[in-house]
Subunit: 336 residues, 2 copies
């Protein structure tokens, strides 16, 4: 089968690609071709696999060509991140809404030309949730919590969820939307997401650098490793429609953890000197955005698909260290 | 002030226009100009008022020009109806989603050029609600019920609600979305809406013709007169942001009534011979759509704005008869 991953050059997309290549099959069908569409090229290790094809450029400009292409499966991960969407409204609308619609319309055109509906997994986000003054905001959100997004990013993700549901209802695609919790620990540099510090306060201290904490220690948030998210996206893809139940988005499991617990775990795994590299420096913009995010998730639908959150934040840190060393055995050598 | 009503040639839009002209003011400001944008021309009686300007044509083609125009208030009612959207997916997406976005972007351009955010009331619909197999579907829906639309029309309305909320959050507009219940009794001919029969089973028998009932007598649904909807749209416009509370859509009041109660009211108002003109002829397509609609509404937010449902279905029928006779004193003469 031929699989398209939009955002396939990004952190989650590249990890998903690596996992799919290692499995060799999806839903029981051998993977012949893996197309990674992104504005950036995928990691060299992925490109070295003869099954991989990279398409570098804006997704919006690539969708027309998809109307004539036999793609058996789509993981639609491409997205401008929350901070970018707040700073540049038009960028968010174009990257997140117009691109998704162009992709869905390309798949619809294929279905209307006689192809079977393409199975599509869309990565949404718990950013669809937020406090609305008209209603109480549950601290822990579930799949059936009323989404009242408080960011353009969350609004765009929610709109795309509903497009996916309606295109699925009409039989144009076989779509499923999965809301990801905040992925941590992300490697590399901070990105434009308001949630970037959730990785920074672990990643930078582990690397011997200062990590900036822009919010209070009492902030609680659902998080998970990239591996849990990839497991979730694949499970959602492989689920039968009956097992997925309905067409509404599901939330992937997350570990509901406070910043204080994150730092305690950092100390437990890497020692007090590493924790001491975290410096509190409140950022009102980020604190304001994060104050509107859920403090945790309950995920019965995902659990019914066999998915689980990470067992502890210490496990999350250890998995990050192991990932770094898998890529480079000399990484984080100072940790012993 | 200058007011734009999109869909201003339609049933609700023209009635809203008539009401605004009769009031002469909106939110305390005198009305100098009333622009009615629609694909059809407004009724001649409206055009005779020197304050009225008709713009006939697709809304989508009119939005660019709005970028340079001083409009103080917008009632955005233009919409393809539910039956049309199910039959022609692209028509619905264009008429309901693309047009709304083009309108909002025109208003955003004005705000970004220095104008105050334009106040916008968007007419949404209780079609945003529907049963999803993943969750119990409450028979009576409220403002905080999770919307899982089961039609393209409902999906498009819900998406527009979220666009309105986000454009408002960003300060581009001062938007409010109000979900209308099914308007009955509509005059004239049946339209493409799946709900059209709710008017037909009253209007046709009153006019001496056969009325076709395509669903069971036990179907219950929230309905209201056009006057209640117009009252609601104006109240939502005139509400302060504090009184509206938040940015989520509110549901306008409706009378929760069964088809059996509607026909009993018809008999009470017009006699058994009129009721006998209703003929049951089940239409599986319509019955299937209606089965996915709410059986009633609770509307605490609208009631906090002073809005009320019609007191009884008999009142609804009597108001319809009075409306017909206001337009034409000889109308429905056979009723005595």
């Amino acid at each position: 089968m031929k699989i398209l991953i939009t955002g396939g050059g990004g952190f989650v997309g590249a990890r998903l690609a690596r996992q799919l290549l290692a499995r060799g099959q999806l839903a029981g069908r051998p993977i012949q071709r893996l197309v990674l569409a992104d504005q950036v090229a995928p990691p060299a290790a992925l490109l070295a696999d003869p099954r991989v094809e990279a398409r570098v450029g804006k997704l919006l400009t690539q969708c027309d060509a998809l109307r004539g292409e036999d793609v058996d499966a789509v993981f639609h991960l491409a997205s401008a991140v929350s901070g970018e969407c707040e700073a540049d409204f038009e960028l968010g609308m174009s990257s997140n809404l117009d691109s998704t619609r162009a992709l869905l319309d390309a798949l619809r055109a294929r279905q209307q030309a006689g192809a079977a509906p393409t199975r599509v997994v869309f990565s949404s986000s718990i950013a669809v949730f937020g406090p609305d003054p008209a209603y109480p905001f549950p601290p822990i959100v579930g799949d059936d919590t009323l989404p009242t997004p408080q960011t353009s990013y969350g609004t765009q993700k929610l709109i795309c969820e509903h497009l996916i549901a309606d295109y699925t209802r009409k039989g144009f695609i076989d779509g499923r939307a999965a809301r990801l919790v905040t992925v941590t620990v992300r490697p590399g540099r901070p990105n434009g997401a308001a949630s970037s510090f959730f990785s920074g306060i672990i990643r930078e201290p582990l690397a011997g650098q200062e990590g900036i904490l822009p919010v209070d220690l009492d902030v609680q948030h659902p998080v998970g490793t990239v591996q849990r998210m990839v497991d979730g996206l694949i499970a959602v893809f492989e689920a039968s429609r009956e097992a997925f139940v309905g067409r509404s988005a599901i939330t992937l499991p997350g570990l509901n953890v406070t910043v204080r617990e994150m730092l305690d775990a950092l100390e437990a795994v890497a020692g007090p000197a590493v924790r001491a590299r975290v410096r509190a420096q409140r950022d009102e913009r980020i604190a304001g955005i994060v104050a509107n995010w859920p403090r945790g998730v309950v995920t019965p639908r995902a659990q019914a698909l066999g998915l689980k959150a990470d067992a502890s934040f210490e496990d999350i840190i250890r998995e990050y260290i192991a990932d770094c060393r898998a890529d480079n055995p000399a990484a984080l050598a100072g940790l012993g």
